[in-house]
Point group: C2
Chain length 377, copies 2
């Protein structure tokens, strides 16, 4: 059995207990709010993690690429929502998957795409299922709940015999919230926008069985989800420093870290140089504009104890610079001698995970299991 202390560095380490606690926390919320939970697997792209989410009670998955859909369908998961706007060129792959028995749902937020989907559906006698993307917070994609376009898109699809599965929205601006009040308000705005869109579709005689909402922060702060059928969230499974700054987790909830080794020093500068650079941490500086900037990550001991004043303050490809958040530690070479192993909490679990071919999952006994993850499109 491999132990934490045997792992080559840098390595992505998952604290399984923390992960299971995070999974349970979100599932319990969905259960108590009376909605299904559909985790977004883009965070981990890892079957072992997704199995734990399903075991806790999740219904189906959300994916951000057709590669994720293919991989998880091959692993036996059939109820899949591909939550990125569909383009004509990707329809043949979607149809092929559905014909192989995958209950793959696609989304759209434009008349142009809806028309392409309708035409493709008619030409290929394809029983596609489409959900309409709603913009509930001006964050990115989606149709405004009150827009005429909503009904135009719905009718275009419905009239062509496409199955309208529902509406979905993602209040991505929740990452910019910093107080519980803001989070509660945004969660309600997300809910209300999606429900309003569904009501308008139904009032126009169009089917809209599903109403799907979610982002990690709004999912954790929604007070009620009346009219909603399912909740989606991704990064909650590991959490990270960005989520900590948003206020939805403690640092002790962060289940992903990067194990690294001190490889050198520049004593006059107060630097310890480690073998976790941006290749291991990612270039994500998500905390840069938040209330607390964690550089490229928060330094912990190998055992996971926070070394609160030390950050990875700079990063090259395979070199990270560990130093005090501010000021110079003249004793850094004695404090963290060459060979010292540290663990770094990441700004963003999705980007940091994506740099690694596998997670090393550590349970209570500190055994490390290799949990492969995939990448690409």
């Amino acid at each position: 059995m491999t132990h934490l202390s045997d792992l080559n560095t840098p390595a992505a380490v998952v604290d399984v207990q923390r992960m299971l606690r995070n999974i349970q926390r979100m599932q319990t919320r969905a259960d108590s709010l009376g909605v299904k939970f559909r985790p977004h697997v883009k965070t981990t792209k890892c079957l072992e993690v997704v199995k734990a989410q399903q075991a806790a009670g999740a219904h189906g998955i959300t994916v951000s690429t057709l590669k994720e859909a293919e991989q998880f369908f091959a692993a036996g998961i059939s109820d899949i929502l591909y939550a990125v706007g569909m383009v004509p060129a990707k329809l043949p792959q979607v149809l092929a998957m559905r014909r192989r028995g995958c209950d793959l749902k696609i989304i759209t937020d434009s008349l142009a795409a809806a028309r392409s989907i309708a035409a493709f559906s008619a030409e290929n006698n394809a029983a596609l299922e489409v959900w309409i993307e709603i913009d509930s917070d001006g964050h990115r994609s989606g149709i405004e709940p009150e827009a005429d376009l909503l009904l135009d898109v719905g009718k275009t699809l419905h009239d062509a015999g496409v199955h309208l599965g529902g509406v979905l929205t993602h209040a991505g601006s929740s990452y910019e919230c910093t107080t519980e009040e803001e989070l509660r308000e945004l969660a309600e705005k997300e809910r209300a926008g999606a429900v309003r869109a569904a009501e308008r579709l139904r009032a126009a005689g169009l089917p809209c069985p599903g109403v799907s909402v979610g982002s990690t922060p709004t999912a954790l702060y929604a007070q009620r989800l009346g009219g909603v059928t399912e909740l989606r969230a991704g990064v909650y499974v590991f959490f990270d420093l960005v989520m900590h700054n948003v206020g939805v987790c403690r640092t002790e909830d962060i289940a992903l870290s990067v194990l690294t080794t001190v490889i050198g020093h520049q004593e006059e500068k107060g630097w310890a140089i480690v073998d976790a650079g941006w290749m291991a941490m990612s270039r994500d500086r998500g905390t840069q504009k938040q209330q607390r900037d964690f550089g490229f990550g928060q330094v912990c001991t190998e055992g996971g104890k926070l070394l609160e004043d030390y950050l990875v303050t700079s990063a090259n490809q395979e070199h990270g610079i560990v130093s005090l958040r501010s000021g110079v530690d003249p004793q850094i070479a004695e404090r963290l001698p060459i060979g010292t192993r540290l663990r770094i909490l990441p700004n963003h679990a999705c980007t940091t995970g994506a740099q690694h071919p596998e997670y090393h999952a550590i349970d209570q006994k500190s055994d490390a299991l290799s949990w492969p993850r995939f990448y690409g499109w």
Copy 2:
């Protein structure tokens, strides 16, 4: 044969003609300066690219991880310099590779590591080859050329029977230069620092056959390399927008781009949404603090023509937002309708490439060959 127009998006595309021109440019410089050229393969981690570098005249390779060393040694390349500070835990792997016939050289810049290497070498009767890392510009790692430590490290290794291969330095601060004069001055500083360190070692009776310098900008602007034996550079093979801002390449020299498809719009905001988000572009915002900020990348047509005013101005995991550099284009949906394919020039070829399992290499006839790349440690 696959053509550019058949590729699934997002995809990393390599313009082979540009790449070969970049390779030739650097090799010609090394030849005319009278030094060997040892490319840094961390940029591509791709055998096909490295084969082209070797075919043009490169001697050996530089690597940033032992995984790179293992992969390229398995592909038949034996002369390998591992240019990240050695730590005791990685010595057994190094020794195993050397015993399998790999001429793998390691580096150090501290007495603590030198002592570990010396002890390991003695215990294992290992004929290791170590180069001493020199700090020529205060950028990151290395021993200052005039420091007593230099001789202490040299003696510690030499006395233990370790083969001293030479000194190496990397003027990484060249990325902050913006004028030819600064680049020439820094190149000379890099050269002078490494040569001075070599002279001091030799004067102390220690061997120092190799003197290795380089970074893409200094390699391209060095006026003379007296006393130097080899040059190293990595990103020159593809170049990128950061290098363009430094002033060492034109946008027409950038050989790597990300092919993407328009998947939606927010017309009032002047946005086209594409399927290249940060997962395809990386989170690297290397041009942010430079003279010209390119957001997450410069937009081009599918054929590669610059759409000068359009950038990827924001990115989520699988969504990029294309908009005018400044201002709102009210016609963006007509200009770039859904399904339009674009190519995005990246800020940083090393980070963007790392997001992709393969490059799609396009030659003059626009055939796309799959060139796999690896990742991990």
